[in-house]
């Protein structure tokens, strides 16, 4: 059953002038004093700071957000970490209140900011299905009716009367998602829950959400870093940046614009003194740099260009300590292309340099970014310098009649050799 156009067009949520202020810093005697002041003067945060950058003691996580959601629409939200996506969903879900503005809506909301909220390890799978279902707003009758279906979907029938603390993490997530997938609110809010599962699980989730919106006319608000999922599911996408709406519209256009704004090439970062360098007490970055081995004078990185990643950091430990460095390369969509790890080595205090070569004829064309993680061992991460470099790889083709996008995340030059009766004429 498909919903007709007039029903699709009805506004189901109206968001007006939503801003959210967060006070930073620790709670202590000083904040007590401020609380008292606020209590007696009745003053909220200073709204005149809304247009300024975030400062040391406060941030505006959202700034004057306005949009409407139509009945039956799937609306996606993209933006880098800290852009305000999750805060916005939290406000619409009533987990936190806005500082200014008003949101009005119709219909019951269920929010899925996490799967398995409220699961209790000591309880059996059966008990947890009910507990979690009720927390998400389902009534007992609803769950009774769908119980078999939920268990089927989860694929853990055998263990349904075992306490969930004995479950493997995969079983746990499947059971948790099975409950969530059978929610039937008018409005569903989903935040990054896809991130927890494997590929099969993800496609199952997306299928379920498509079904909910197309066949049942549910409205879905959806945050994900997975651009493919966004393109696939959403009718409209909102790109957020630093708490503001940058762009709103058809997924293809908004996502492309977002990726373009994100993929500004960032080939080096240099910090002269440890005071201003990113890092922590153990690791302070001095320099990260990407050096392309250009073949010609064009200065463009293409698929043939070998790349060299260099980095320097100040290392500080109380006693000599092991250090490993892991370099991760991500596509612009956030998929990890590879992670490569240095051997473990013992170092004293001082400047540490590292280098990693990525050969030419390896990456496909596209935008990439690099994160560098410093670890003591595989279990202890000291510091991660995220998205510290980003670059674009341009396409280059010889002897090819194909002009479309080459498939695959990597594009190694593994020769394919053919044998057969040859003719010398063309």
């Amino acid at each position: 059953m498909l919903f007709n156009q007039s029903e699709m067009n009805q506004t189901i949520i109206k968001v007006e002038n939503i801003s959210k202020y967060y006070h930073l810093g620790t709670m202590g005697a000083r904040s007590f004093k401020q609380d008292m002041k606020r209590f007696f003067t009745g003053k909220g945060p200073d709204l005149s700071t809304l247009d300024q950058d975030n400062s040391r003691d406060h941030i505006w996580a959202l700034r004057q957000i306005e949009f409407e959601v139509a009945q039956g629409e799937v609306l996606g939200f993209i933006g880098r970490n800290g852009a305000g996506k999750s805060t916005l969903l939290k406000i619409i879900s009533r987990i936190t209140l806005p500082t200014t503005g008003i949101i009005r809506g119709n219909g019951r909301i269920a929010s899925l900011l996490e799967v398995g909220t409220g699961f209790h390890g000591e309880l059996t799978g059966r008990e947890n299905i009910y507990l979690n279902g009720h927390i998400l707003g389902m009534k007992k009758k609803e769950i009774d009716k769908k119980f078999e279906e939920i268990v089927d979907f989860s694929g853990v029938e055998q263990f349904i009367d075992t306490p969930v603390k004995r479950y493997s993490s995969g079983m746990y997530v499947r059971l948790a998602f099975a409950v969530a997938a059978h929610l039937e609110p008018e409005i569903l809010i989903v935040d990054e829950v896809l991130a927890v599962g494997d590929a099969e699980f993800q496609s199952k989730c997306i299928g379920k959400m498509k079904e909910a919106s197309l066949q049942k006319g549910k409205t879905i608000l959806f945050v994900s870093h997975n651009m493919e999922a966004q393109r696939n599911l959403c009718q409209r996408v909102i790109a957020l940046n630093r708490g503001r709406i940058m762009d709103i519209g058809k997924p293809e256009a908004v996502i492309a614009g977002y990726l373009r704004s994100e993929s500004s090439q960032y080939l080096q970062q240099l910090f002269e003194s440890p005071d201003e360098a990113p890092g922590n007490d153990t690791i302070r970055m001095r320099r990260v740099q990407l050096i392309p081995g250009y073949r010609n004078q064009s200065g463009v990185i293409d698929i043939r260009t070998p790349l060299e990643i260099q980095f320097e950091c100040w290392f500080h430990t109380d006693n000599d300590s092991d250090l490993m460095v892991s370099i991760q390369l991500y596509s612009a969509a956030g998929d990890c292309i590879f992670e490569t790890v240095s051997p473990k080595k013992r170092f004293g205090n001082g400047l540490i340099e590292g280098v990693c070569h990525i050969p030419g004829h390896f990456l496909n064309d596209g935008s990439y970014y690099v994160s560098i993680a410093f670890m003591k061992n595989f279990a202890t991460r000291l510091y991660c310098f995220e998205s510290c470099l980003s670059f674009d790889v341009e396409d280059y083709r010889e002897n090819s009649d194909w002009y479309g996008k080459w498939n695959g995340q990597v594009r190694p030059d593994f020769p394919v050799v053919l044998h057969g009766p040859e003719t010398s004429e063309i």
């Binding site: 007039s6 067009n9 009805q10 506004t11 109206k14 967060y22 709670m27 007590f32 609380d35 909220g44 409407e68 139509a70 406000i91 619409i92 879900s93 009533r94 987990i95 936190t96 209140l97 806005p98 500082t99 200014t100 503005g101 008003i102 949101i103 009005r104 809506g105 119709n106 219909g107 909301i109 929010s111 900011l113 996490e114 909220t117 409220g118 209790h120 000591e122 309880l123 008990e127 009910y130 507990l131 009720h134 927390i135 998400l136 707003g137 009534k139 007992k140 306490p163």
Partner: protein, 282 residues
Amino acid sequence: METKTEWEWEIRPEENWFRLNLTGLWHYKDLLIRLVRRDIIASYQQTILGPAWVFLQPLFTTLVYFIIFNKIANISTDHVPPILFYLPGTLIWTYFSDCFIGVMYTFTQNAYIFNKVYFPRLIVPLSTLLFHSFRLSIQLVLFFIVYLFFLLSYHDVHPSVYILLFPLLVLMVAGFSMGCGLIISVFTARYRDLDNIMQFLLRLFMFAAPIVYPASIIPEKFRWFIWLNPLTPLIETFRTIFFTGGRIHTGYLLISFISTGLILLVGLLLFKKHEIKIMDVV
């Protein structure tokens, strides 16, 4: 684009005072029952004696009180057999303090849920209250067994007709602990110092109520002070209607009733007003 003028819900920067949203609460009654069930099941997992602990706890406490306060300190029990005298005080005090502490930690202990899903937060303290009420009702069975034994074998026990007040007494303890707990919960969420202060005050408060002594041993001059504690008339009336059969202090009982009602009301309003906003600072 067609727009509706009527909206089913709206979200504003401030919650309204005086809007308890009882229909919203009713929608989640299944959750309430399930949470009580969870607490009951979880509390006996991986224990050998299991539910028996519900009985053993007050029994041991009563025994310890009997030895320390009666045998060693020689504090009067108003001619009531000591075991019988201490038992109701122990039960009511345990009920009060368990409920109070449970409700007080509503935000801090459920932050992981409150940060992910919305439902009327009042469901959680209510479930705490119901869980401890369930334990109390089992313990009361124990009390009645002991009581019947003394009633049939011991001539100095005189029940009175006011025994019918008994359910009201339990309700008032529940209301008082819930009210205090709700008020404190809002403040502990923000200032953790209160945890320590409260644990300490609670211990003192136990001696400000006639649990291990009868109110009659307090000098006349200060007696009114002890009686203003909402718990005092409740415990004393409990003992009167079951053991001594004397007259009950209607005036103090009324004061206790009114102050409990007020505290509960303030607690509910304060909790409702802050239930969502508070999560920014937990």
